[in-house]
Symmetry: C2
């Protein structure tokens, strides 16, 4: 598979997710709330989490019909986290992916509530997948796992430590904690959910979890590097915004060259975890290269 | 059952809920987040929603072991909604139940994230009830229903319309919408969840839903009345705070006397819906009188 073919495959899956998300975004009264929710869901984004869920399911022969609601729920959760992260009492960001953030457009109160509603909707969507014939025990396992990954010992916990660390000198251990929780936990849950919905063996689940953890790490280190050396027009936000928030990054803690080496090493390890799947894992290998070489 | 016996029964169930909630509140890192979550969960409150869930299950012969996680999840969701409602970008309240609100103690960012984490934890707790032997289909139905009740077409939707109406002249229809969504939906879901977890017949579910809707209405009208004529030391917040937020209330729209009549009428109708359960519904009848005559 050429890199061009890979990018077409990525876009095709992201398009399917965008189609499905339409179904899961509520409409009607209160219109302004639903408009605000849709605004952030459709404000760009690579749909990496749902793509990971769907491709993992495909790798294991899972049924897309039953996995799609989970994939979309993960994107709703990711979107809620971005809206809340951007609020003035948090990172106070006016731009994301080159567009005004939710609270800039809709005001703080509606932005806060749009985030709350997206998070709530995610769990509703997953639970109601049973009405379409999804296996009830797998669904409950996935809901429990995503709840844990998104909660106080996962994504929200990482966000808390990130905020508490602002303006302070932190060590590599703390930076790893922030990354593993703030973004890593949801990547991990995305891949594991696709596996669980497909009835993965414990062996498959262990391998894919290892893949997920190295993928998350590669993503985070690259994110940190882009914040230092990225192109503002491609990133859609000012370069150096982590620095201006006095946030620690890999380049700041270990230097740019070592950060690049660590990102490459993570990609290599993620590929090793996938080796038993041979050519069936090719798309994932390309995705890892894409994460490493992306410009936004 | 005397009113004294009823109050003892209410306290006994609330105590059980408080015990169980301890189990469901996460501990460990990040400590400040978990402390902030526990602060609001244990900042008082009558535990009305979990009591309704548990008593409904008891009425129908449900298994308390399987209903308790749902009851506690509803209280976690109620608590998150209070934390977010009190934030500066929302109602900007410094006091609740006589105590400083979450963001006054922990700061806005942690308060926001504590709310997010409580909401997320609620769904995790419900999903994991399957590990303790709860029926998987009932659980998924309840998670879907609570998600809907708490989301953009339920509690969050009511909150949005409430905020959009501030300082505006609104009609009774809009006030009813706000009440039915902002508080009514979760009361309704509390009672229906107890019924669904107990395998209620569609007849029982219809009756109990009617009971729930009138109970919610009685609660909301009484709440509005207390805001006008209540005792500040008992309420734990300033009387007239709705007026100072330029919020519409039943007394403002229909007059105090008519508001009292409507509250009594709602209680009567709720009792009628319960009539087929005869003396088994006595505790609920007393609860309705308690809601009507409460001072906080």
């Amino acid at each position: 598979m050429s890199f061009t073919d890979f990018k077409a495959a990525l876009k095709a899956t992201a398009d399917e997710v965008n189609q499905a998300l339409k179904e899961y975004l509520p409409q009607g009264k209160p219109e302004i709330l639903h408009e605000s929710m849709a605004y952030s869901v459709y404000a760009g984004g690579k749909r990496l989490r749902p793509v990971l869920t769907l491709w993992t399911a495909e790798l294991l022969g899972g049924d897309k019909k039953h996995v799609m609601p989970i994939a979309c729920a993960l994107e709703l959760i990711h979107t809620y986290s971005l809206i809340h992260d951007d609020l003035p009492c948090m990172d106070d960001d006016d731009l994301r992916r080159g567009k005004p953030t939710n609270h800039v457009v809709y005001g703080e109160a509606i932005a806060l509530l749009a985030g709350d509603a997206l998070l709530t909707r995610a769990f509703e969507v997953m639970a109601k997948a049973v009405e379409n014939g999804a296996d009830s025990h797998r669904l409950l396992k996935v809901i429990g796992e995503i709840g844990e990954a998104a909660g106080s010992k996962g994504m929200v916990g990482g966000q808390v430590v990130d905020i508490l660390s602002e303006g302070k000198k932190i060590d590599l251990e703390t930076l790893k904690y922030i990354h593993a929780h703030k973004t890593g936990a949801l990547f991990r849950a995305s891949i594991r959910s696709g596996a669980i919905m497909s009835g993965a063996s414990s062996e498959d689940l262990a391998r894919l979890t290892e893949f997920a953890e190295y993928l998350g790490l590669a993503f985070q280190i690259t994110d940190d590097i882009l914040d230092v050396v990225g192109d503002e027009t491609k990133l859609g936000k000012p370069v150096g915004s982590d620095e201006s928030h006095a946030k620690a990054t890999y380049p700041a803690l270990v230097g740019l060259e070592e950060a690049r080496r660590l990102a490459q090493e993570s990609v290599n390890r993620a590929k090793e975890a996938l080796a038993p799947y041979k050519e069936k894992a090719e798309r994932f290998n390309q995705l890892l290269d894409f994460i490493l070489t992306r410009e936004s």
